[in-house]
Point group: C2
Chain length 359, copies 2
DNA sequence: CCTCGGTACTAATACGCATTAGGCCCGCGT
DNA sequence: ACGCGGGCCTAATGCGTATTAGTACCGAGG
């Protein structure tokens, strides 16, 4: 009976302090809050809105300096246009070489291209204890989240995935079932490097890698074997030399033993520290040998930034493109689709450390 | 007996997919959503809740793995326990020396100590055009925001401040009226350095600074003058040497001219590039002079990371403490209070580039 | 005159949580 | 026996936006 009174009583949007809401815009434009949402949300294509009304709304929004509340947008089962980036290792390491900067370049660029803004969550040094147990949860402020760092706890990731929250992990990862990831195609890249060696006549090739069976490592090993097999060169685990401590292990003596056994080329896996690559180079010069002439070396990755001397043959990980691909995958998930190709191709780097086999 | 009926009519929380809400926890615990909110929000002190009920709620929350939705928390005029960090210059510069890393160390630590998590917003490379005009707005996802970088646009800052959103700027700043900031006490620090010179007998001192009248620079200049005046040494603008291009300006000839005019000590402002400091050192050695013996040099700031030779006398900016102070100020604002002391004391660094005046 | 199909808009509701204003019950005082 | 206060809890509402299910109007077709 008194619904009219009841309505007018409440509908008068009191001129509030603070930031204007859609209701204020609506009042100024003489339309409903719904219409404001429709116009400002760009949904005016689905629901017909006259040009006149649209103009009024936009004008009012402009005059009031309206800006949407990201929390409210997000809550209303809608989107934020924000992509979260979560890093479990330090986001700001002392050594910039260990930071994710190269990836983030691509991430930021592609995100802008896709119409997203970025929000970075830092989960590293937060103590880890209680707060850390649900650290990943603040990712829910965004529409989706990119996860960096191999140490992301599987249970927290699983939780997000199970809840249907869009997550993309940077780097191959199997652990939480159904987790989307984007990684480098190490298999193909390693195969290409080995293929180059074989094409130049090498038959006896060994692989040196550190003793840490992460996907990035096992993929390279697989590519190594595949490259040999594809060229008809028999291979096996005996060609793989795993060493925990390259410094002590990759000595001139070891090197000479290999050469004596007929080895003409050595392929080294790239790691965080590049310890193996460094040690091997030292061993070569300590043994009085010359790299392209007496033995060929290849690096499955990029040389360390302080590398001197000839450019090592190998491949480069296109970090920026990887970041961009991750964003594309995430955008696809956010849009309700499925990401397509998770693998990003690496670029073969000819280099100068590979030559024909001696003699 | 009939409370169940009454409740079941509307309150039947359908077993939903996705993450549990407080309603689910409430149902499992056999209490109301309000109670869950009260217990989980720690407000059980204001409103009495029995230990038994609290236990049940906590148990249910644990079993369901409940985690609060940060967007909803924030929307409900409540708090997020999130502090935003907004950087207008590149968050990930190629040169880590130019990054905010040292500040962020303190920020992160103090935030954790105050029970906040961090959210980083990157506003640098986002193109700037339309999206950039409201870039700072996503800060509203957090309870408050720390702003880094001197290029933060005043209008966007004013907007937040006017809306009563807690903002703290890192570095002194006057522009938007009422903006809270935390900065280093350059005046006192510079005064101390000059005081040290005067105490050692120097009377003719000049200040070299780059030509950029930002607060950080004018503060140091003020401290320079105050230091001299406090010791009864007359001073004036003629003692200040502003140079836009230190490389060309701070020549051995210039140096000799100063010495001939009786100058015994030179105070240099620290800048991004440390160009003035470098140029002056080069000039001293090119002129065949020795630093502590023939002329004293002091640096109003920290030496560049690649600095070699004796430690320059001057002061150090306690970046981590500055970051921590900023967080404390922000926490105070978020809590509805007012930040107290905005100035952070710098540490005098004795160094080895200052001695008694020659002769 | 009465549908029918648009067009242009709005009312109502959901989102998940926090908070305010009570409601109920029990024990104590008078 | 009645009121009253305090302990414990809940109903109801708001936060600002997005979305769904309409309503009101209008011109055309029967």
């Amino acid at each position: 009976m008194d619904e009219v009174r009841g309505q007018t009583r409440r509908r008068v949007a009191a001129p509030r302090a603070g930031r204007p809401r859609q209701a204020e815009v609506a009042q100024l434009a003489g339309v409903s809050q719904t219409t404001v949402s429709l116009v400002l949300g760009g949904k005016a294509d689905d629901v017909a809105i006259s040009a006149e009304t649209r103009r009024k709304v936009l004008g009012a929004a402009e005059r009031l300096g309206y800006v949407p509340d990201p929390a409210a947008s997000r809550l209303a089962a809608a989107r934020n246009n924000l992509l979260g980036v979560f890093s479990f290792t330090a986001t700001f390491p002392t050594d910039v070489q260990h930071s994710y900067y190269p990836f983030l370049v691509g991430v930021e660029q592609e995100a802008a291209a896709q119409g997203f803004d970025l929000v970075l969550f830092t989960g590293s040094s937060t103590g880890g204890a209680r707060a850390g147990a649900h650290a990943l949860h603040r990712a829910r402020l965004a529409d989706g989240c990119l996860v960096l760092g191999r140490h992301a706890p599987a249970d927290q990731l699983r939780r997000l995935v199970d809840d249907g929250f869009p997550v993309v992990h940077l780097g191959r990862r199997d652990e939480p079932e159904g987790l989307a990831w984007v990684g480098a195609d190490y298999v193909t890249a390693a195969r290409a490097v080995v293929g180059d060696l074989v094409a130049r006549g090498h038959r006896e090739v060994v692989l040196v890698c550190e003793d840490d069976p992460v996907p990035a490592s096992t993929d390279r090993e697989r590519g190594f074997h595949e490259g040999l097999l594809a060229a008809g060169v028999p291979t096996g685990p005996e060609r793989v030399h795993r060493c925990a401590d390259p410094e002590r292990d990759l000595t001139p003596a070891r090197l000479r033993a290999w050469l004596a056994a007929g080895v003409t080329a050595i392929v080294v896996e790239e790691t965080d520290t590049s310890a193996a690559w460094r040690a091997l180079n030292t061993a070569v010069s300590d043994a009085g040998l010359d790299c392209p002439r007496d033995v060929s070396l290849a690096l499955l990755g990029s040389p360390p930034p302080d590398h001197e001397g000839p450019v090592p043959t190998g491949f480069d990980l296109p970090r920026a493109r990887l970041g961009a691909a991750a964003v594309r995958a995430l955008a696809a998930l956010v849009a309700g689709g499925r990401p397509d190709e998770p693998l990003v191709e690496c670029a073969f780097r000819p280099g100068a450390t590979v030559g024909p086999p001696p003699r």
